[in-house]
Each structure stands twice: as C-alpha cells, then as structure tokens.
C-alpha cells in the first residue's frame, strides 16, 4: 500500500487477522535470516579446561618441553597477549634467556631472581616485579603489570606446568634447559628398569598422555586430530606409522612437530599393539 491510498483509511484498512499474519511472517523471516547468519559462521566449540594429571612416569625432557609448548598455547592462555600484536612482549619471537639476563642487569629490576630460570619463574607467578618498558597497565608508568599470576585462578598452572613452560622457553631458542625434570620422572639414561607395562589400551593411552592432545576416550582435547573415528580414516599400518613417526604424514589443518617422536623408544611392543588395535576399532 502506498501513501496516498491511506488518506481514506476508513473501511479500507486490512483485517487485523491479515495484518497479524503479515507482521508475524515478516518477523519470523527476519529471525530466520539472523539464525542463518549465525549458522554460516565457522562452528567452533570452546573447550573447558580439563584438569590433566601430568604422567610424571612417562616424562622425558623432550615431552616435558613439548608439554610446556602445549601449555603455552593452551591452558596457560599465554598467546592471548604474548603474540605479534603488541599487547605484551612477543616472547615467542625473543630469545628469553638473553632477555632475562638483560632484565636482571636493569637498574629497575627489584626481584630476587638470579638467573634466567628463576627470572622466568618469578615473571610468571609475580609479573609485577619487573614490567617491561611500555607494557605496563595504562597510566601506571610501567609499575603495574596487566598479566595475571599464572599459578592463581583463572589459569592455575601447577609447579610442574610452570617448569615445563620455562623449559620450553629455554629450549625454543636452543638454550640449555636448566629446569630439572619433575621428581620421579625418568631421566632418560639413568632409568634402570622400565615402568610396568600398561594392561589395557585405555591405560596405555593415559600412560603416554595421548588424551592430552587428542580427543579419544573421555578426552575432548583438540590440539591434535581427533581419534574418535580414526579407524575409519586410517588402516592399522597407517596408525602404526603415525605413532612411531608422527611427522611422516600430518593431518589436514594440523602442524607437524607437535607430537613427540620418541614413542618408539618408550612404548613396549605390547602397548603399541594394544593402542593400534584399539584405535583401528574407533569408527565412531
């Protein structure tokens, strides 16, 4: 209906039923468009942080460093700010051992740390002790850090996890890792006897920390490819290769070098076979 006709509204007004149907239909159409937009966007679910018990028994220095990297990108939420966007120092791009030594020598430094390891630890649990110039809270003149203490809520990293991140920070630029492996972890050569073999595939998956990165069993982790339907995609032989030589084939959308490459050294044949058999059965 256009404007001029409305001058004679009397008796020409459509019935309220018709208007009701039209306006309702119009409203529902709009709602439908909004719903469509929401459904066209990438569908990603956030994950709740899962309390992962670190399997100290299976830990080697390599997996310890890998754990640090995982935590750095995941539970630690470090990359939210420590990235190339300038919110916080881009510590992935810097050699943090060198940076730590420079900062310890800075006259502004008032903390208790004596070396890179203790400095990195201190900077995580008490970030306000030394604020890198230009990164303090607005208006605080670099005296207050915007970074939360990582051992407290909401991040709540354990001492072992903090240690792993320090190890990762040291190792990523080829520095010596000074953090000791957590107690009762095997030190590669000094391990006299192998730990008891897992008795089931489920136990083995837990023992070697598979669930930390892959969604399998109860785990919904997304750092690595999901294993819930791996049996449909890969043959037993391909699964074997993926465990023994993880970087040979990288699943679409994931980057190589994440998965420890030393499972061949760690797993017993029995455990490896159990895992392969179990995974080959995972068909969704």
């Amino acid at each position: 209906m256009s404007a001029p006709e409305n001058m004679s509204a009397e008796n020409s007004a459509p019935s309220s039923g018709k208007i009701l149907a039209l306006s309702l239909g119009f409203s529902l159409l709009m709602v439908l468009v909004f719903t469509l937009v929401a459904n066209l966007l990438p569908q990603i679910e956030g994950e709740a942080s899962v309390e992962e018990e670190v399997e100290l028994g299976a830990l080697t220095m390599d997996s310890f460093i890998a754990l640090g990297e995982t935590l750095f990108n995941g539970k630690g939420t470090c990359t939210l700010c420590h990235n190339a966007m300038g919110r916080a120092p881009d510590i992935l791009a810097q050699n943090m051992v060198g940076a730590a030594e420079e900062r310890l020598a800075d006259s502004r430094y008032k903390g208790k740390a004596t070396d890179a390891e203790s400095y990195l630890h201190e900077s995580m649990v008490n970030p306000g002790i030394y604020v890198v110039a230009g990164f303090g809270k607005k208006g605080s003149n670099d005296t207050v850090s915007p970074m939360p203490a990582v051992h407290k809520a909401p991040i709540q990293l354990s001492e072992v996890e903090i240690g792993a991140i320090i190890a990762f920070m040291q190792a990523k630029d080829g520095n010596d890792v000074t953090v000791p492996l957590p107690t009762d972890a095997p030190v590669a050569e000094a391990e006299p006897e192998a730990p008891a073999a897992a008795t089931s595939a489920e136990e083995a998956l837990g023992k070697f920390g598979c669930t930390a990165c892959h969604s399998v069993l109860e785990s919904e982790a997304t750092l690595g490819p999901s294993l819930k339907i791996v049996g449909r995609k890969l043959t037993a032989e391909e699964i074997r290769q993926s465990i023994i030589d993880p970087n040979a084939v990288i699943a679409d959308g994931f980057s190589g070098g994440m998965m420890p490459a030393n499972f061949a050294d760690q797993m017993m044949v029995k455990e490896l076979e159990m895992i392969i058999h179990f995974l080959a059965e995972q068909k969704g």
Binding site: S2, A13, S23
Partner: protein, 616 residues
C-alpha cells in the same frame, strides 16, 4: 467540592505511603527496620569473622556428578528462562521511564494526547509485569534445582540482600498498580503531581531492582568482596560494587529504554495498520513515531556505554576481554553487525517514509539517497569479517577458545569508521526529520546552520582520519586509543545537534504535520526494530555471560557441569532464535490482552428482546 473530598480520601494514605516508601528506599531513615538491620547484621558477622580469624567458608567445588540432570541440557533450560525474564524485565523497567517523561510533557504542554498515549503505553507494561515475575520465579526454581551448589554459594554471598530484593519487588507491584489504576483518578491539577510522584517512585524502585539484580551477574563475571577461594571477606556493598557493576548498570538502563521503545512501537504499528478511522490511524501513527524516536535516541549512545563496559572488562582482566573480542566469541560480533545494521537501516527507512507526513520535508528529499548510500556501504564494511572464508587449516588452528588470527577483529579500524559514520548519518536522518516541519525564526539561524554543517563535515573527516592514520600507520595502543577519538567525534555531533536544534527552533514557525499520512509498508520497520533488538539482546547477553568460559564465578567457582564449554555459534544462534520467537509469542499475547480490555460484547439479541417485553 464533593469530588475533591472524595479524591482526598484517596490521596492522604497514598501520599503517606509514598513518603514512607521513599524513606525506606533511600535508607537514610528506615521505618521498617529491615534494610538497615540486614546490612548491619551482615557487617557485624563479617567483622566477627575477620577479627576472630574464624575459618572462612570457601566457594564449593562440585564435581560433574553433583549437578542434577533432568535429561535436558540444564544450561539450555536456564538460558531460556533467564533470557525471557530479562526480556520482560527490560520492558517492564523501561516503559515507565519514558511514560513518566511523556506524562510530564503532557502536563507542560496541556495536550491531552500525550497523557492518553502514556496511559496506553502503561497498559502494555501491566501484562508484561506479571509475565516477568512468572519467569523470574521459574528461573529461580530452575537454578535451585539444576545448580544447587552454585545457588547455595550465591545465597551465602548475597545473603539477606535477596530479601531486600524481594521486598523491592513488592514495592514495585504496589507503585505499578497505583500508578496505572490511579491514572484517571489523579488526572488534573495537584492530583496530577501526586500521580507523577508515584511514577517517579515506581521508576526509583524499578531502577533499584535492576541494579541489585545486576550485581549478581557482575559478581559472577568479576567477583569482589570475597577472597581468592571465594570466602566472603567484605560487606554486601563491597560484594555488589564490583568493577563491572556500574558499566552494566548504565548499559542495561539505556538498552532497556531502546528495547521498550521498540516493543511499544510494534504495538502502535499494528494498531495503526488495523485502525478503522482516520483519527485512530493518526493517533497510532504518532504513537509509533514517538516509540521509534525513543528507541533510536536511546540506541545511539548505546555503543558508547558498551565501549565503557568492554574497557572495564579489559581493565579487570585482559584475558576476559580478549576472550570476548578476539576468541571464538569474536565471530558473534559479525552477527551483531548484521543486527545493528538492520536496526539502523530500519530506523532510517522509517524516518524517510515518515517525511511524507509533512510538506516541509521536501527541502530535504535530496539528501536521503546520500545517507542511504553511506549506510549501506558502512553496513557492508562492518559485516565483512577479517577472514571471510576460513580454510580447513584455519578452522583447525583456531583450536581453543582464543586465537591470534581473530584478534584484529575487535579493534578493526575500518569497522570503527563504518560504525561511527553509520551513527552520524542516522543522526542526520533524525535531525532532518526533526527539522522537516519547522522553519527557524531566530536571527542567528544562518550561523547555527553553518556551525552544524561544519560539525558534520569535520566530524566525518576526523572519524576517517583517526581510523585510517592511527589504525594503519601507528602502533596498537594508538590504534585502540584512536577509537575513543572517533567516539568523541560522533558524540559531539549528537550532542551539538540536539543542543543547536533545541535553541535554533525555539519558537520556530511550525508547518502542518498530517499524522497517519504514511505508508503501511513503513510500519514494518517498526516490527523489524523490536525483532532485531530482541535477538541482539539475546546475543550480547550470551557474549557477556560466556566470557566467564568454564567458571560459574570467574576465578572463584569452576563450572564442572556437562555444559561448561562455549557452544558453537550455530547452536547459540538457534537458542537465540528460540527465545526471540518465544518472546514474540508472549508479546502478541500481551497485545491481544491489551486489545481485549478495550472491547465490549454487545448484549445478546435475545436479552434485548426479552427486556422489551413479550416472552416468546
């Protein structure tokens, strides 16, 4: 005299009641005793606890098994109930705010149309009020049933404040009923002022109710008054006054008005299109116009209140801020852009259509196409995501709830330019419409006009300059800082526009306005507005709630329920659609009831014949 004394009987107890209640609210004098006692005893308990270093009770740590399940996702149930409660709560709190303003305008101008319209607005609010209470009660029950540990903790933290809330609810009902049903009894002379005071009390209690309830939500986001493990260490005031409380209070207050205006606008549109007489059509056209005016005027400053809220969230926890603006939730801002774009386009379209009411608007016809062009281009820039199509590896790389790829979305300078320009041009539509039936008579009209044009021109230039220069050629902090510059420019236009027009068109020569002389098609804009508002409210409320990620109470109480993850956008979108459609259904029911109350059944023909004598 007789009428007067009959009225007096009404007033004296009413007045007494008002004064007593008002004292109760301000808390300076506390005739009922409970408000002060509650706080006093709370403070005493706290003091005793702190002094004796008695064991403070930490927040509970329920395991997944501790959450009772009833077969349907608990989160979805609470989601729907809470959202419905909030929709209706917003409507019920908002309507009296502008009703009292319209009533006051009616008193000042002596034009009875204002009074009638205000009364009719209240009629819609009445049914909504009971629905609000129903959903509120059901929500509370659902929370106690499905999240018992959480509710036990919240009860412990807020304690007797909950009872204060309940008593405020009683007062709200009291004022609402007296205000509405006393409307015609207290219509003229001094009685009108009593009625206006009642309206003021109603709004006072309503606002208090809202800020009390807001404190629960903000406590969950940014707890205060408790220690690291959640033991209460402060008094109730310290618990309530968290860092996000006031930003949320302001944001909700303004948004409620916009929302309420939009909903009653739809009512007016419906009534106008079904009106049988030109007189009714004119009345509802004017009502719809006023509603739209309220909605848009409240809507324009809303992004800035939102900006403040977001800034406070960043200040409280940078992590939380980035989760909202740079994580998976960032995608929701694309949907937000679609919704706000819809709102702005609909509002502008309605204003342009409305120009047909007035001959004087011909002067401005030429500008419309430019405004439309800027709006559409702005809209398109705004909805274009940084990476429109994600490759498989990008989706996978997103992995967790946060990713650096999406970070720039939150502070995209191009989008800031688009949004600010859209707001400026919407205001231009608004201003042109406002001027369309007036001719300025003040001697400095030329100067005022030149000033206004200069303000628009320089503001637009400044918005583009700030976005382009600081956004792309300086560092991040300046980029973020420059968005405030843009906001300042936009606000300047709005404030200067309102002030200049108010002064310049004082005693202006008025041209006739033919209310009702507008196309039916334009009325659909008045439906688009509340639908988009409702969906938008559901969306932004979801974002606000989701930034807590897997915490019931951020940093204090973990959410270990089966629903403790952020769902995919599609799922969330479907939930929003569900609550919006549900809301629409309830609103239609309210309109129907409001219509029903005005209808009278004709006496049955048989009875009439019988009355006239002659039993068959």
């Amino acid at each position: 005299m007789k009428a007067c004394s009959r009225k007096l009987r009404w007033f004296i107890p009413g007045l007494l009641l008002v004064s007593v209640m008002s004292l109760g609210i301000t808390g300076e004098v506390d005739p009922f005793g409970f408000v002060g006692d509650v706080y006093a005893s709370e403070a005493l308990v706290d003091e005793a606890l702190t002094e004796s270093k008695a064991e403070l009770k930490a927040a509970p740590k329920p395991t997944t098994e501790d959450y009772p399940g009833i077969g349907i996702s608990s989160r979805s149930i609470v989601w729907v109930l809470a959202q419905m409660h909030l929709f209706f709560g917003a409507l019920v709190l908002a309507v009296p705010i502008f009703v009292i303003v319209i009533e006051l305008i009616g008193v000042k101008t002596g034009d009875p149309r204002y009074d009638d319209m205000a009364h009719e607005f209240m009629k819609i609010s009445m049914t909504a009020y009971s629905i609000t209470a129903l959903f509120g009660g059901t929500l509370a029950l659902a929370l106690f049933l499905l999240y018992p540990d959480f509710m036990a903790y919240i009860m412990e933290v807020f304690g007797a404040q909950m009872m204060v809330y309940a008593s405020l609810f009683f007062m709200e009902s009291l004022f609402l009923y007296i205000y509405y049903y006393g409307w015609d009894a207290l219509r003229y002379g001094n009685s009108k002022w009593v009625h206006l005071s009642l309206g003021l009390m109603l709004n006072g209690v309503g606002a208090t109710l809202m800020v009390v309830a807001n404190s629960w939500a903000t406590f969950m986001m940014a707890p205060s008054g408790v220690n690291e493990v959640g033991a209460v260490v402060g008094n109730i005031w310290e618990v309530m006054k968290g860092p996000l409380w006031n930003p949320i209070n302001l944001h909700r207050f303004i948004a409620n008005i916009a929302f309420g205006g939009a909903v009653v606008g739809a009512y007016a549109a419906f009534k106008m299109m079904t009106a049988r007489t030109q007189e009714l059509r004119a009345h509802y056209d004017w009502m719809g116009y006023t509603s739209n005016f309220i909605a848009i005027l409240a809507f324009l400053p809303l992004p800035f209140a939102g900006y403040w809220l977001m800034a406070e969230i960043y200040a409280y926890s940078q992590q939380m801020g980035i989760t909202a603006m740079g994580g998976i939730l960032a995608w929701l801002f694309i949907v937000q852009a679609v919704l706000i774009g819809t709102i702005l386009l609909a509002a502008n379209y309605y204003l342009w259509s409305g120009m047909s009411r007035c001959e004087g608007s011909r002067r401005y016809d030429g500008y419309i196409k430019y405004i439309a062009f800027v709006l559409v281009v702005g809209f398109l820039i705004w909805v274009t995501p940084h990476t429109l199509i994600l490759t498989a590896s990008e989706v996978a790389a997103l992995g967790g709830s946060h990713h650096h790829l999406l970070g720039p979305l939150g502070i995209m300078p191009a989008k800031n330019i688009a949004v600010n320009l859209m707001l400026v041009f919407t205001f231009l539509s608004f201003q042109l419409y406002g001027r369309s039936n007036k001719i300025a008579t003040v001697p400095w009209a030329d100067m005022g006009n030149a000033l206004m044009v200069a303000i628009y021109a320089v503001a637009i230039f400044n918005i583009i300059f700030a976005g382009v220069y600081y956004g792309y050629f300086t560092n991040t902090v300046y980029k973020v800082g420059s968005s405030v510059m843009q906001v300042g420019s936009t606000l300047t236009v709005i404030i200067a526009g309102v002030v200049i027009d108010a002064l310049m068109y004082k005693n202006a020569k008025l041209l006739p306005v033919n209310w009702g002389n507008v196309s039916n098609r334009s009325q659909y804009a008045l439906f688009a507005l509340p639908v988009a508002f409702t969906w938008l409210m559901a969306l932004m409320g979801y974002v606000r709630s989701s930034v807590r990620t897997d915490w019931h109470i951020y940093t204090i109480m973990k959410d270990t329920s089966p629903d403790n993850f952020i769902p995919a956008i599609g799922y969330a979108g479907n939930m929003m659609t569900m609550v919006t459609v549900l809301f629409l259904v309830f609103v239609l029911f309210i309109f129907w009831i409001a219509n029903l109350s005005g209808q009278k059944q004709a006496p049955p023909a048989a009875a009439v014949t019988a009355g006239e004598g002659g039993v068959a």
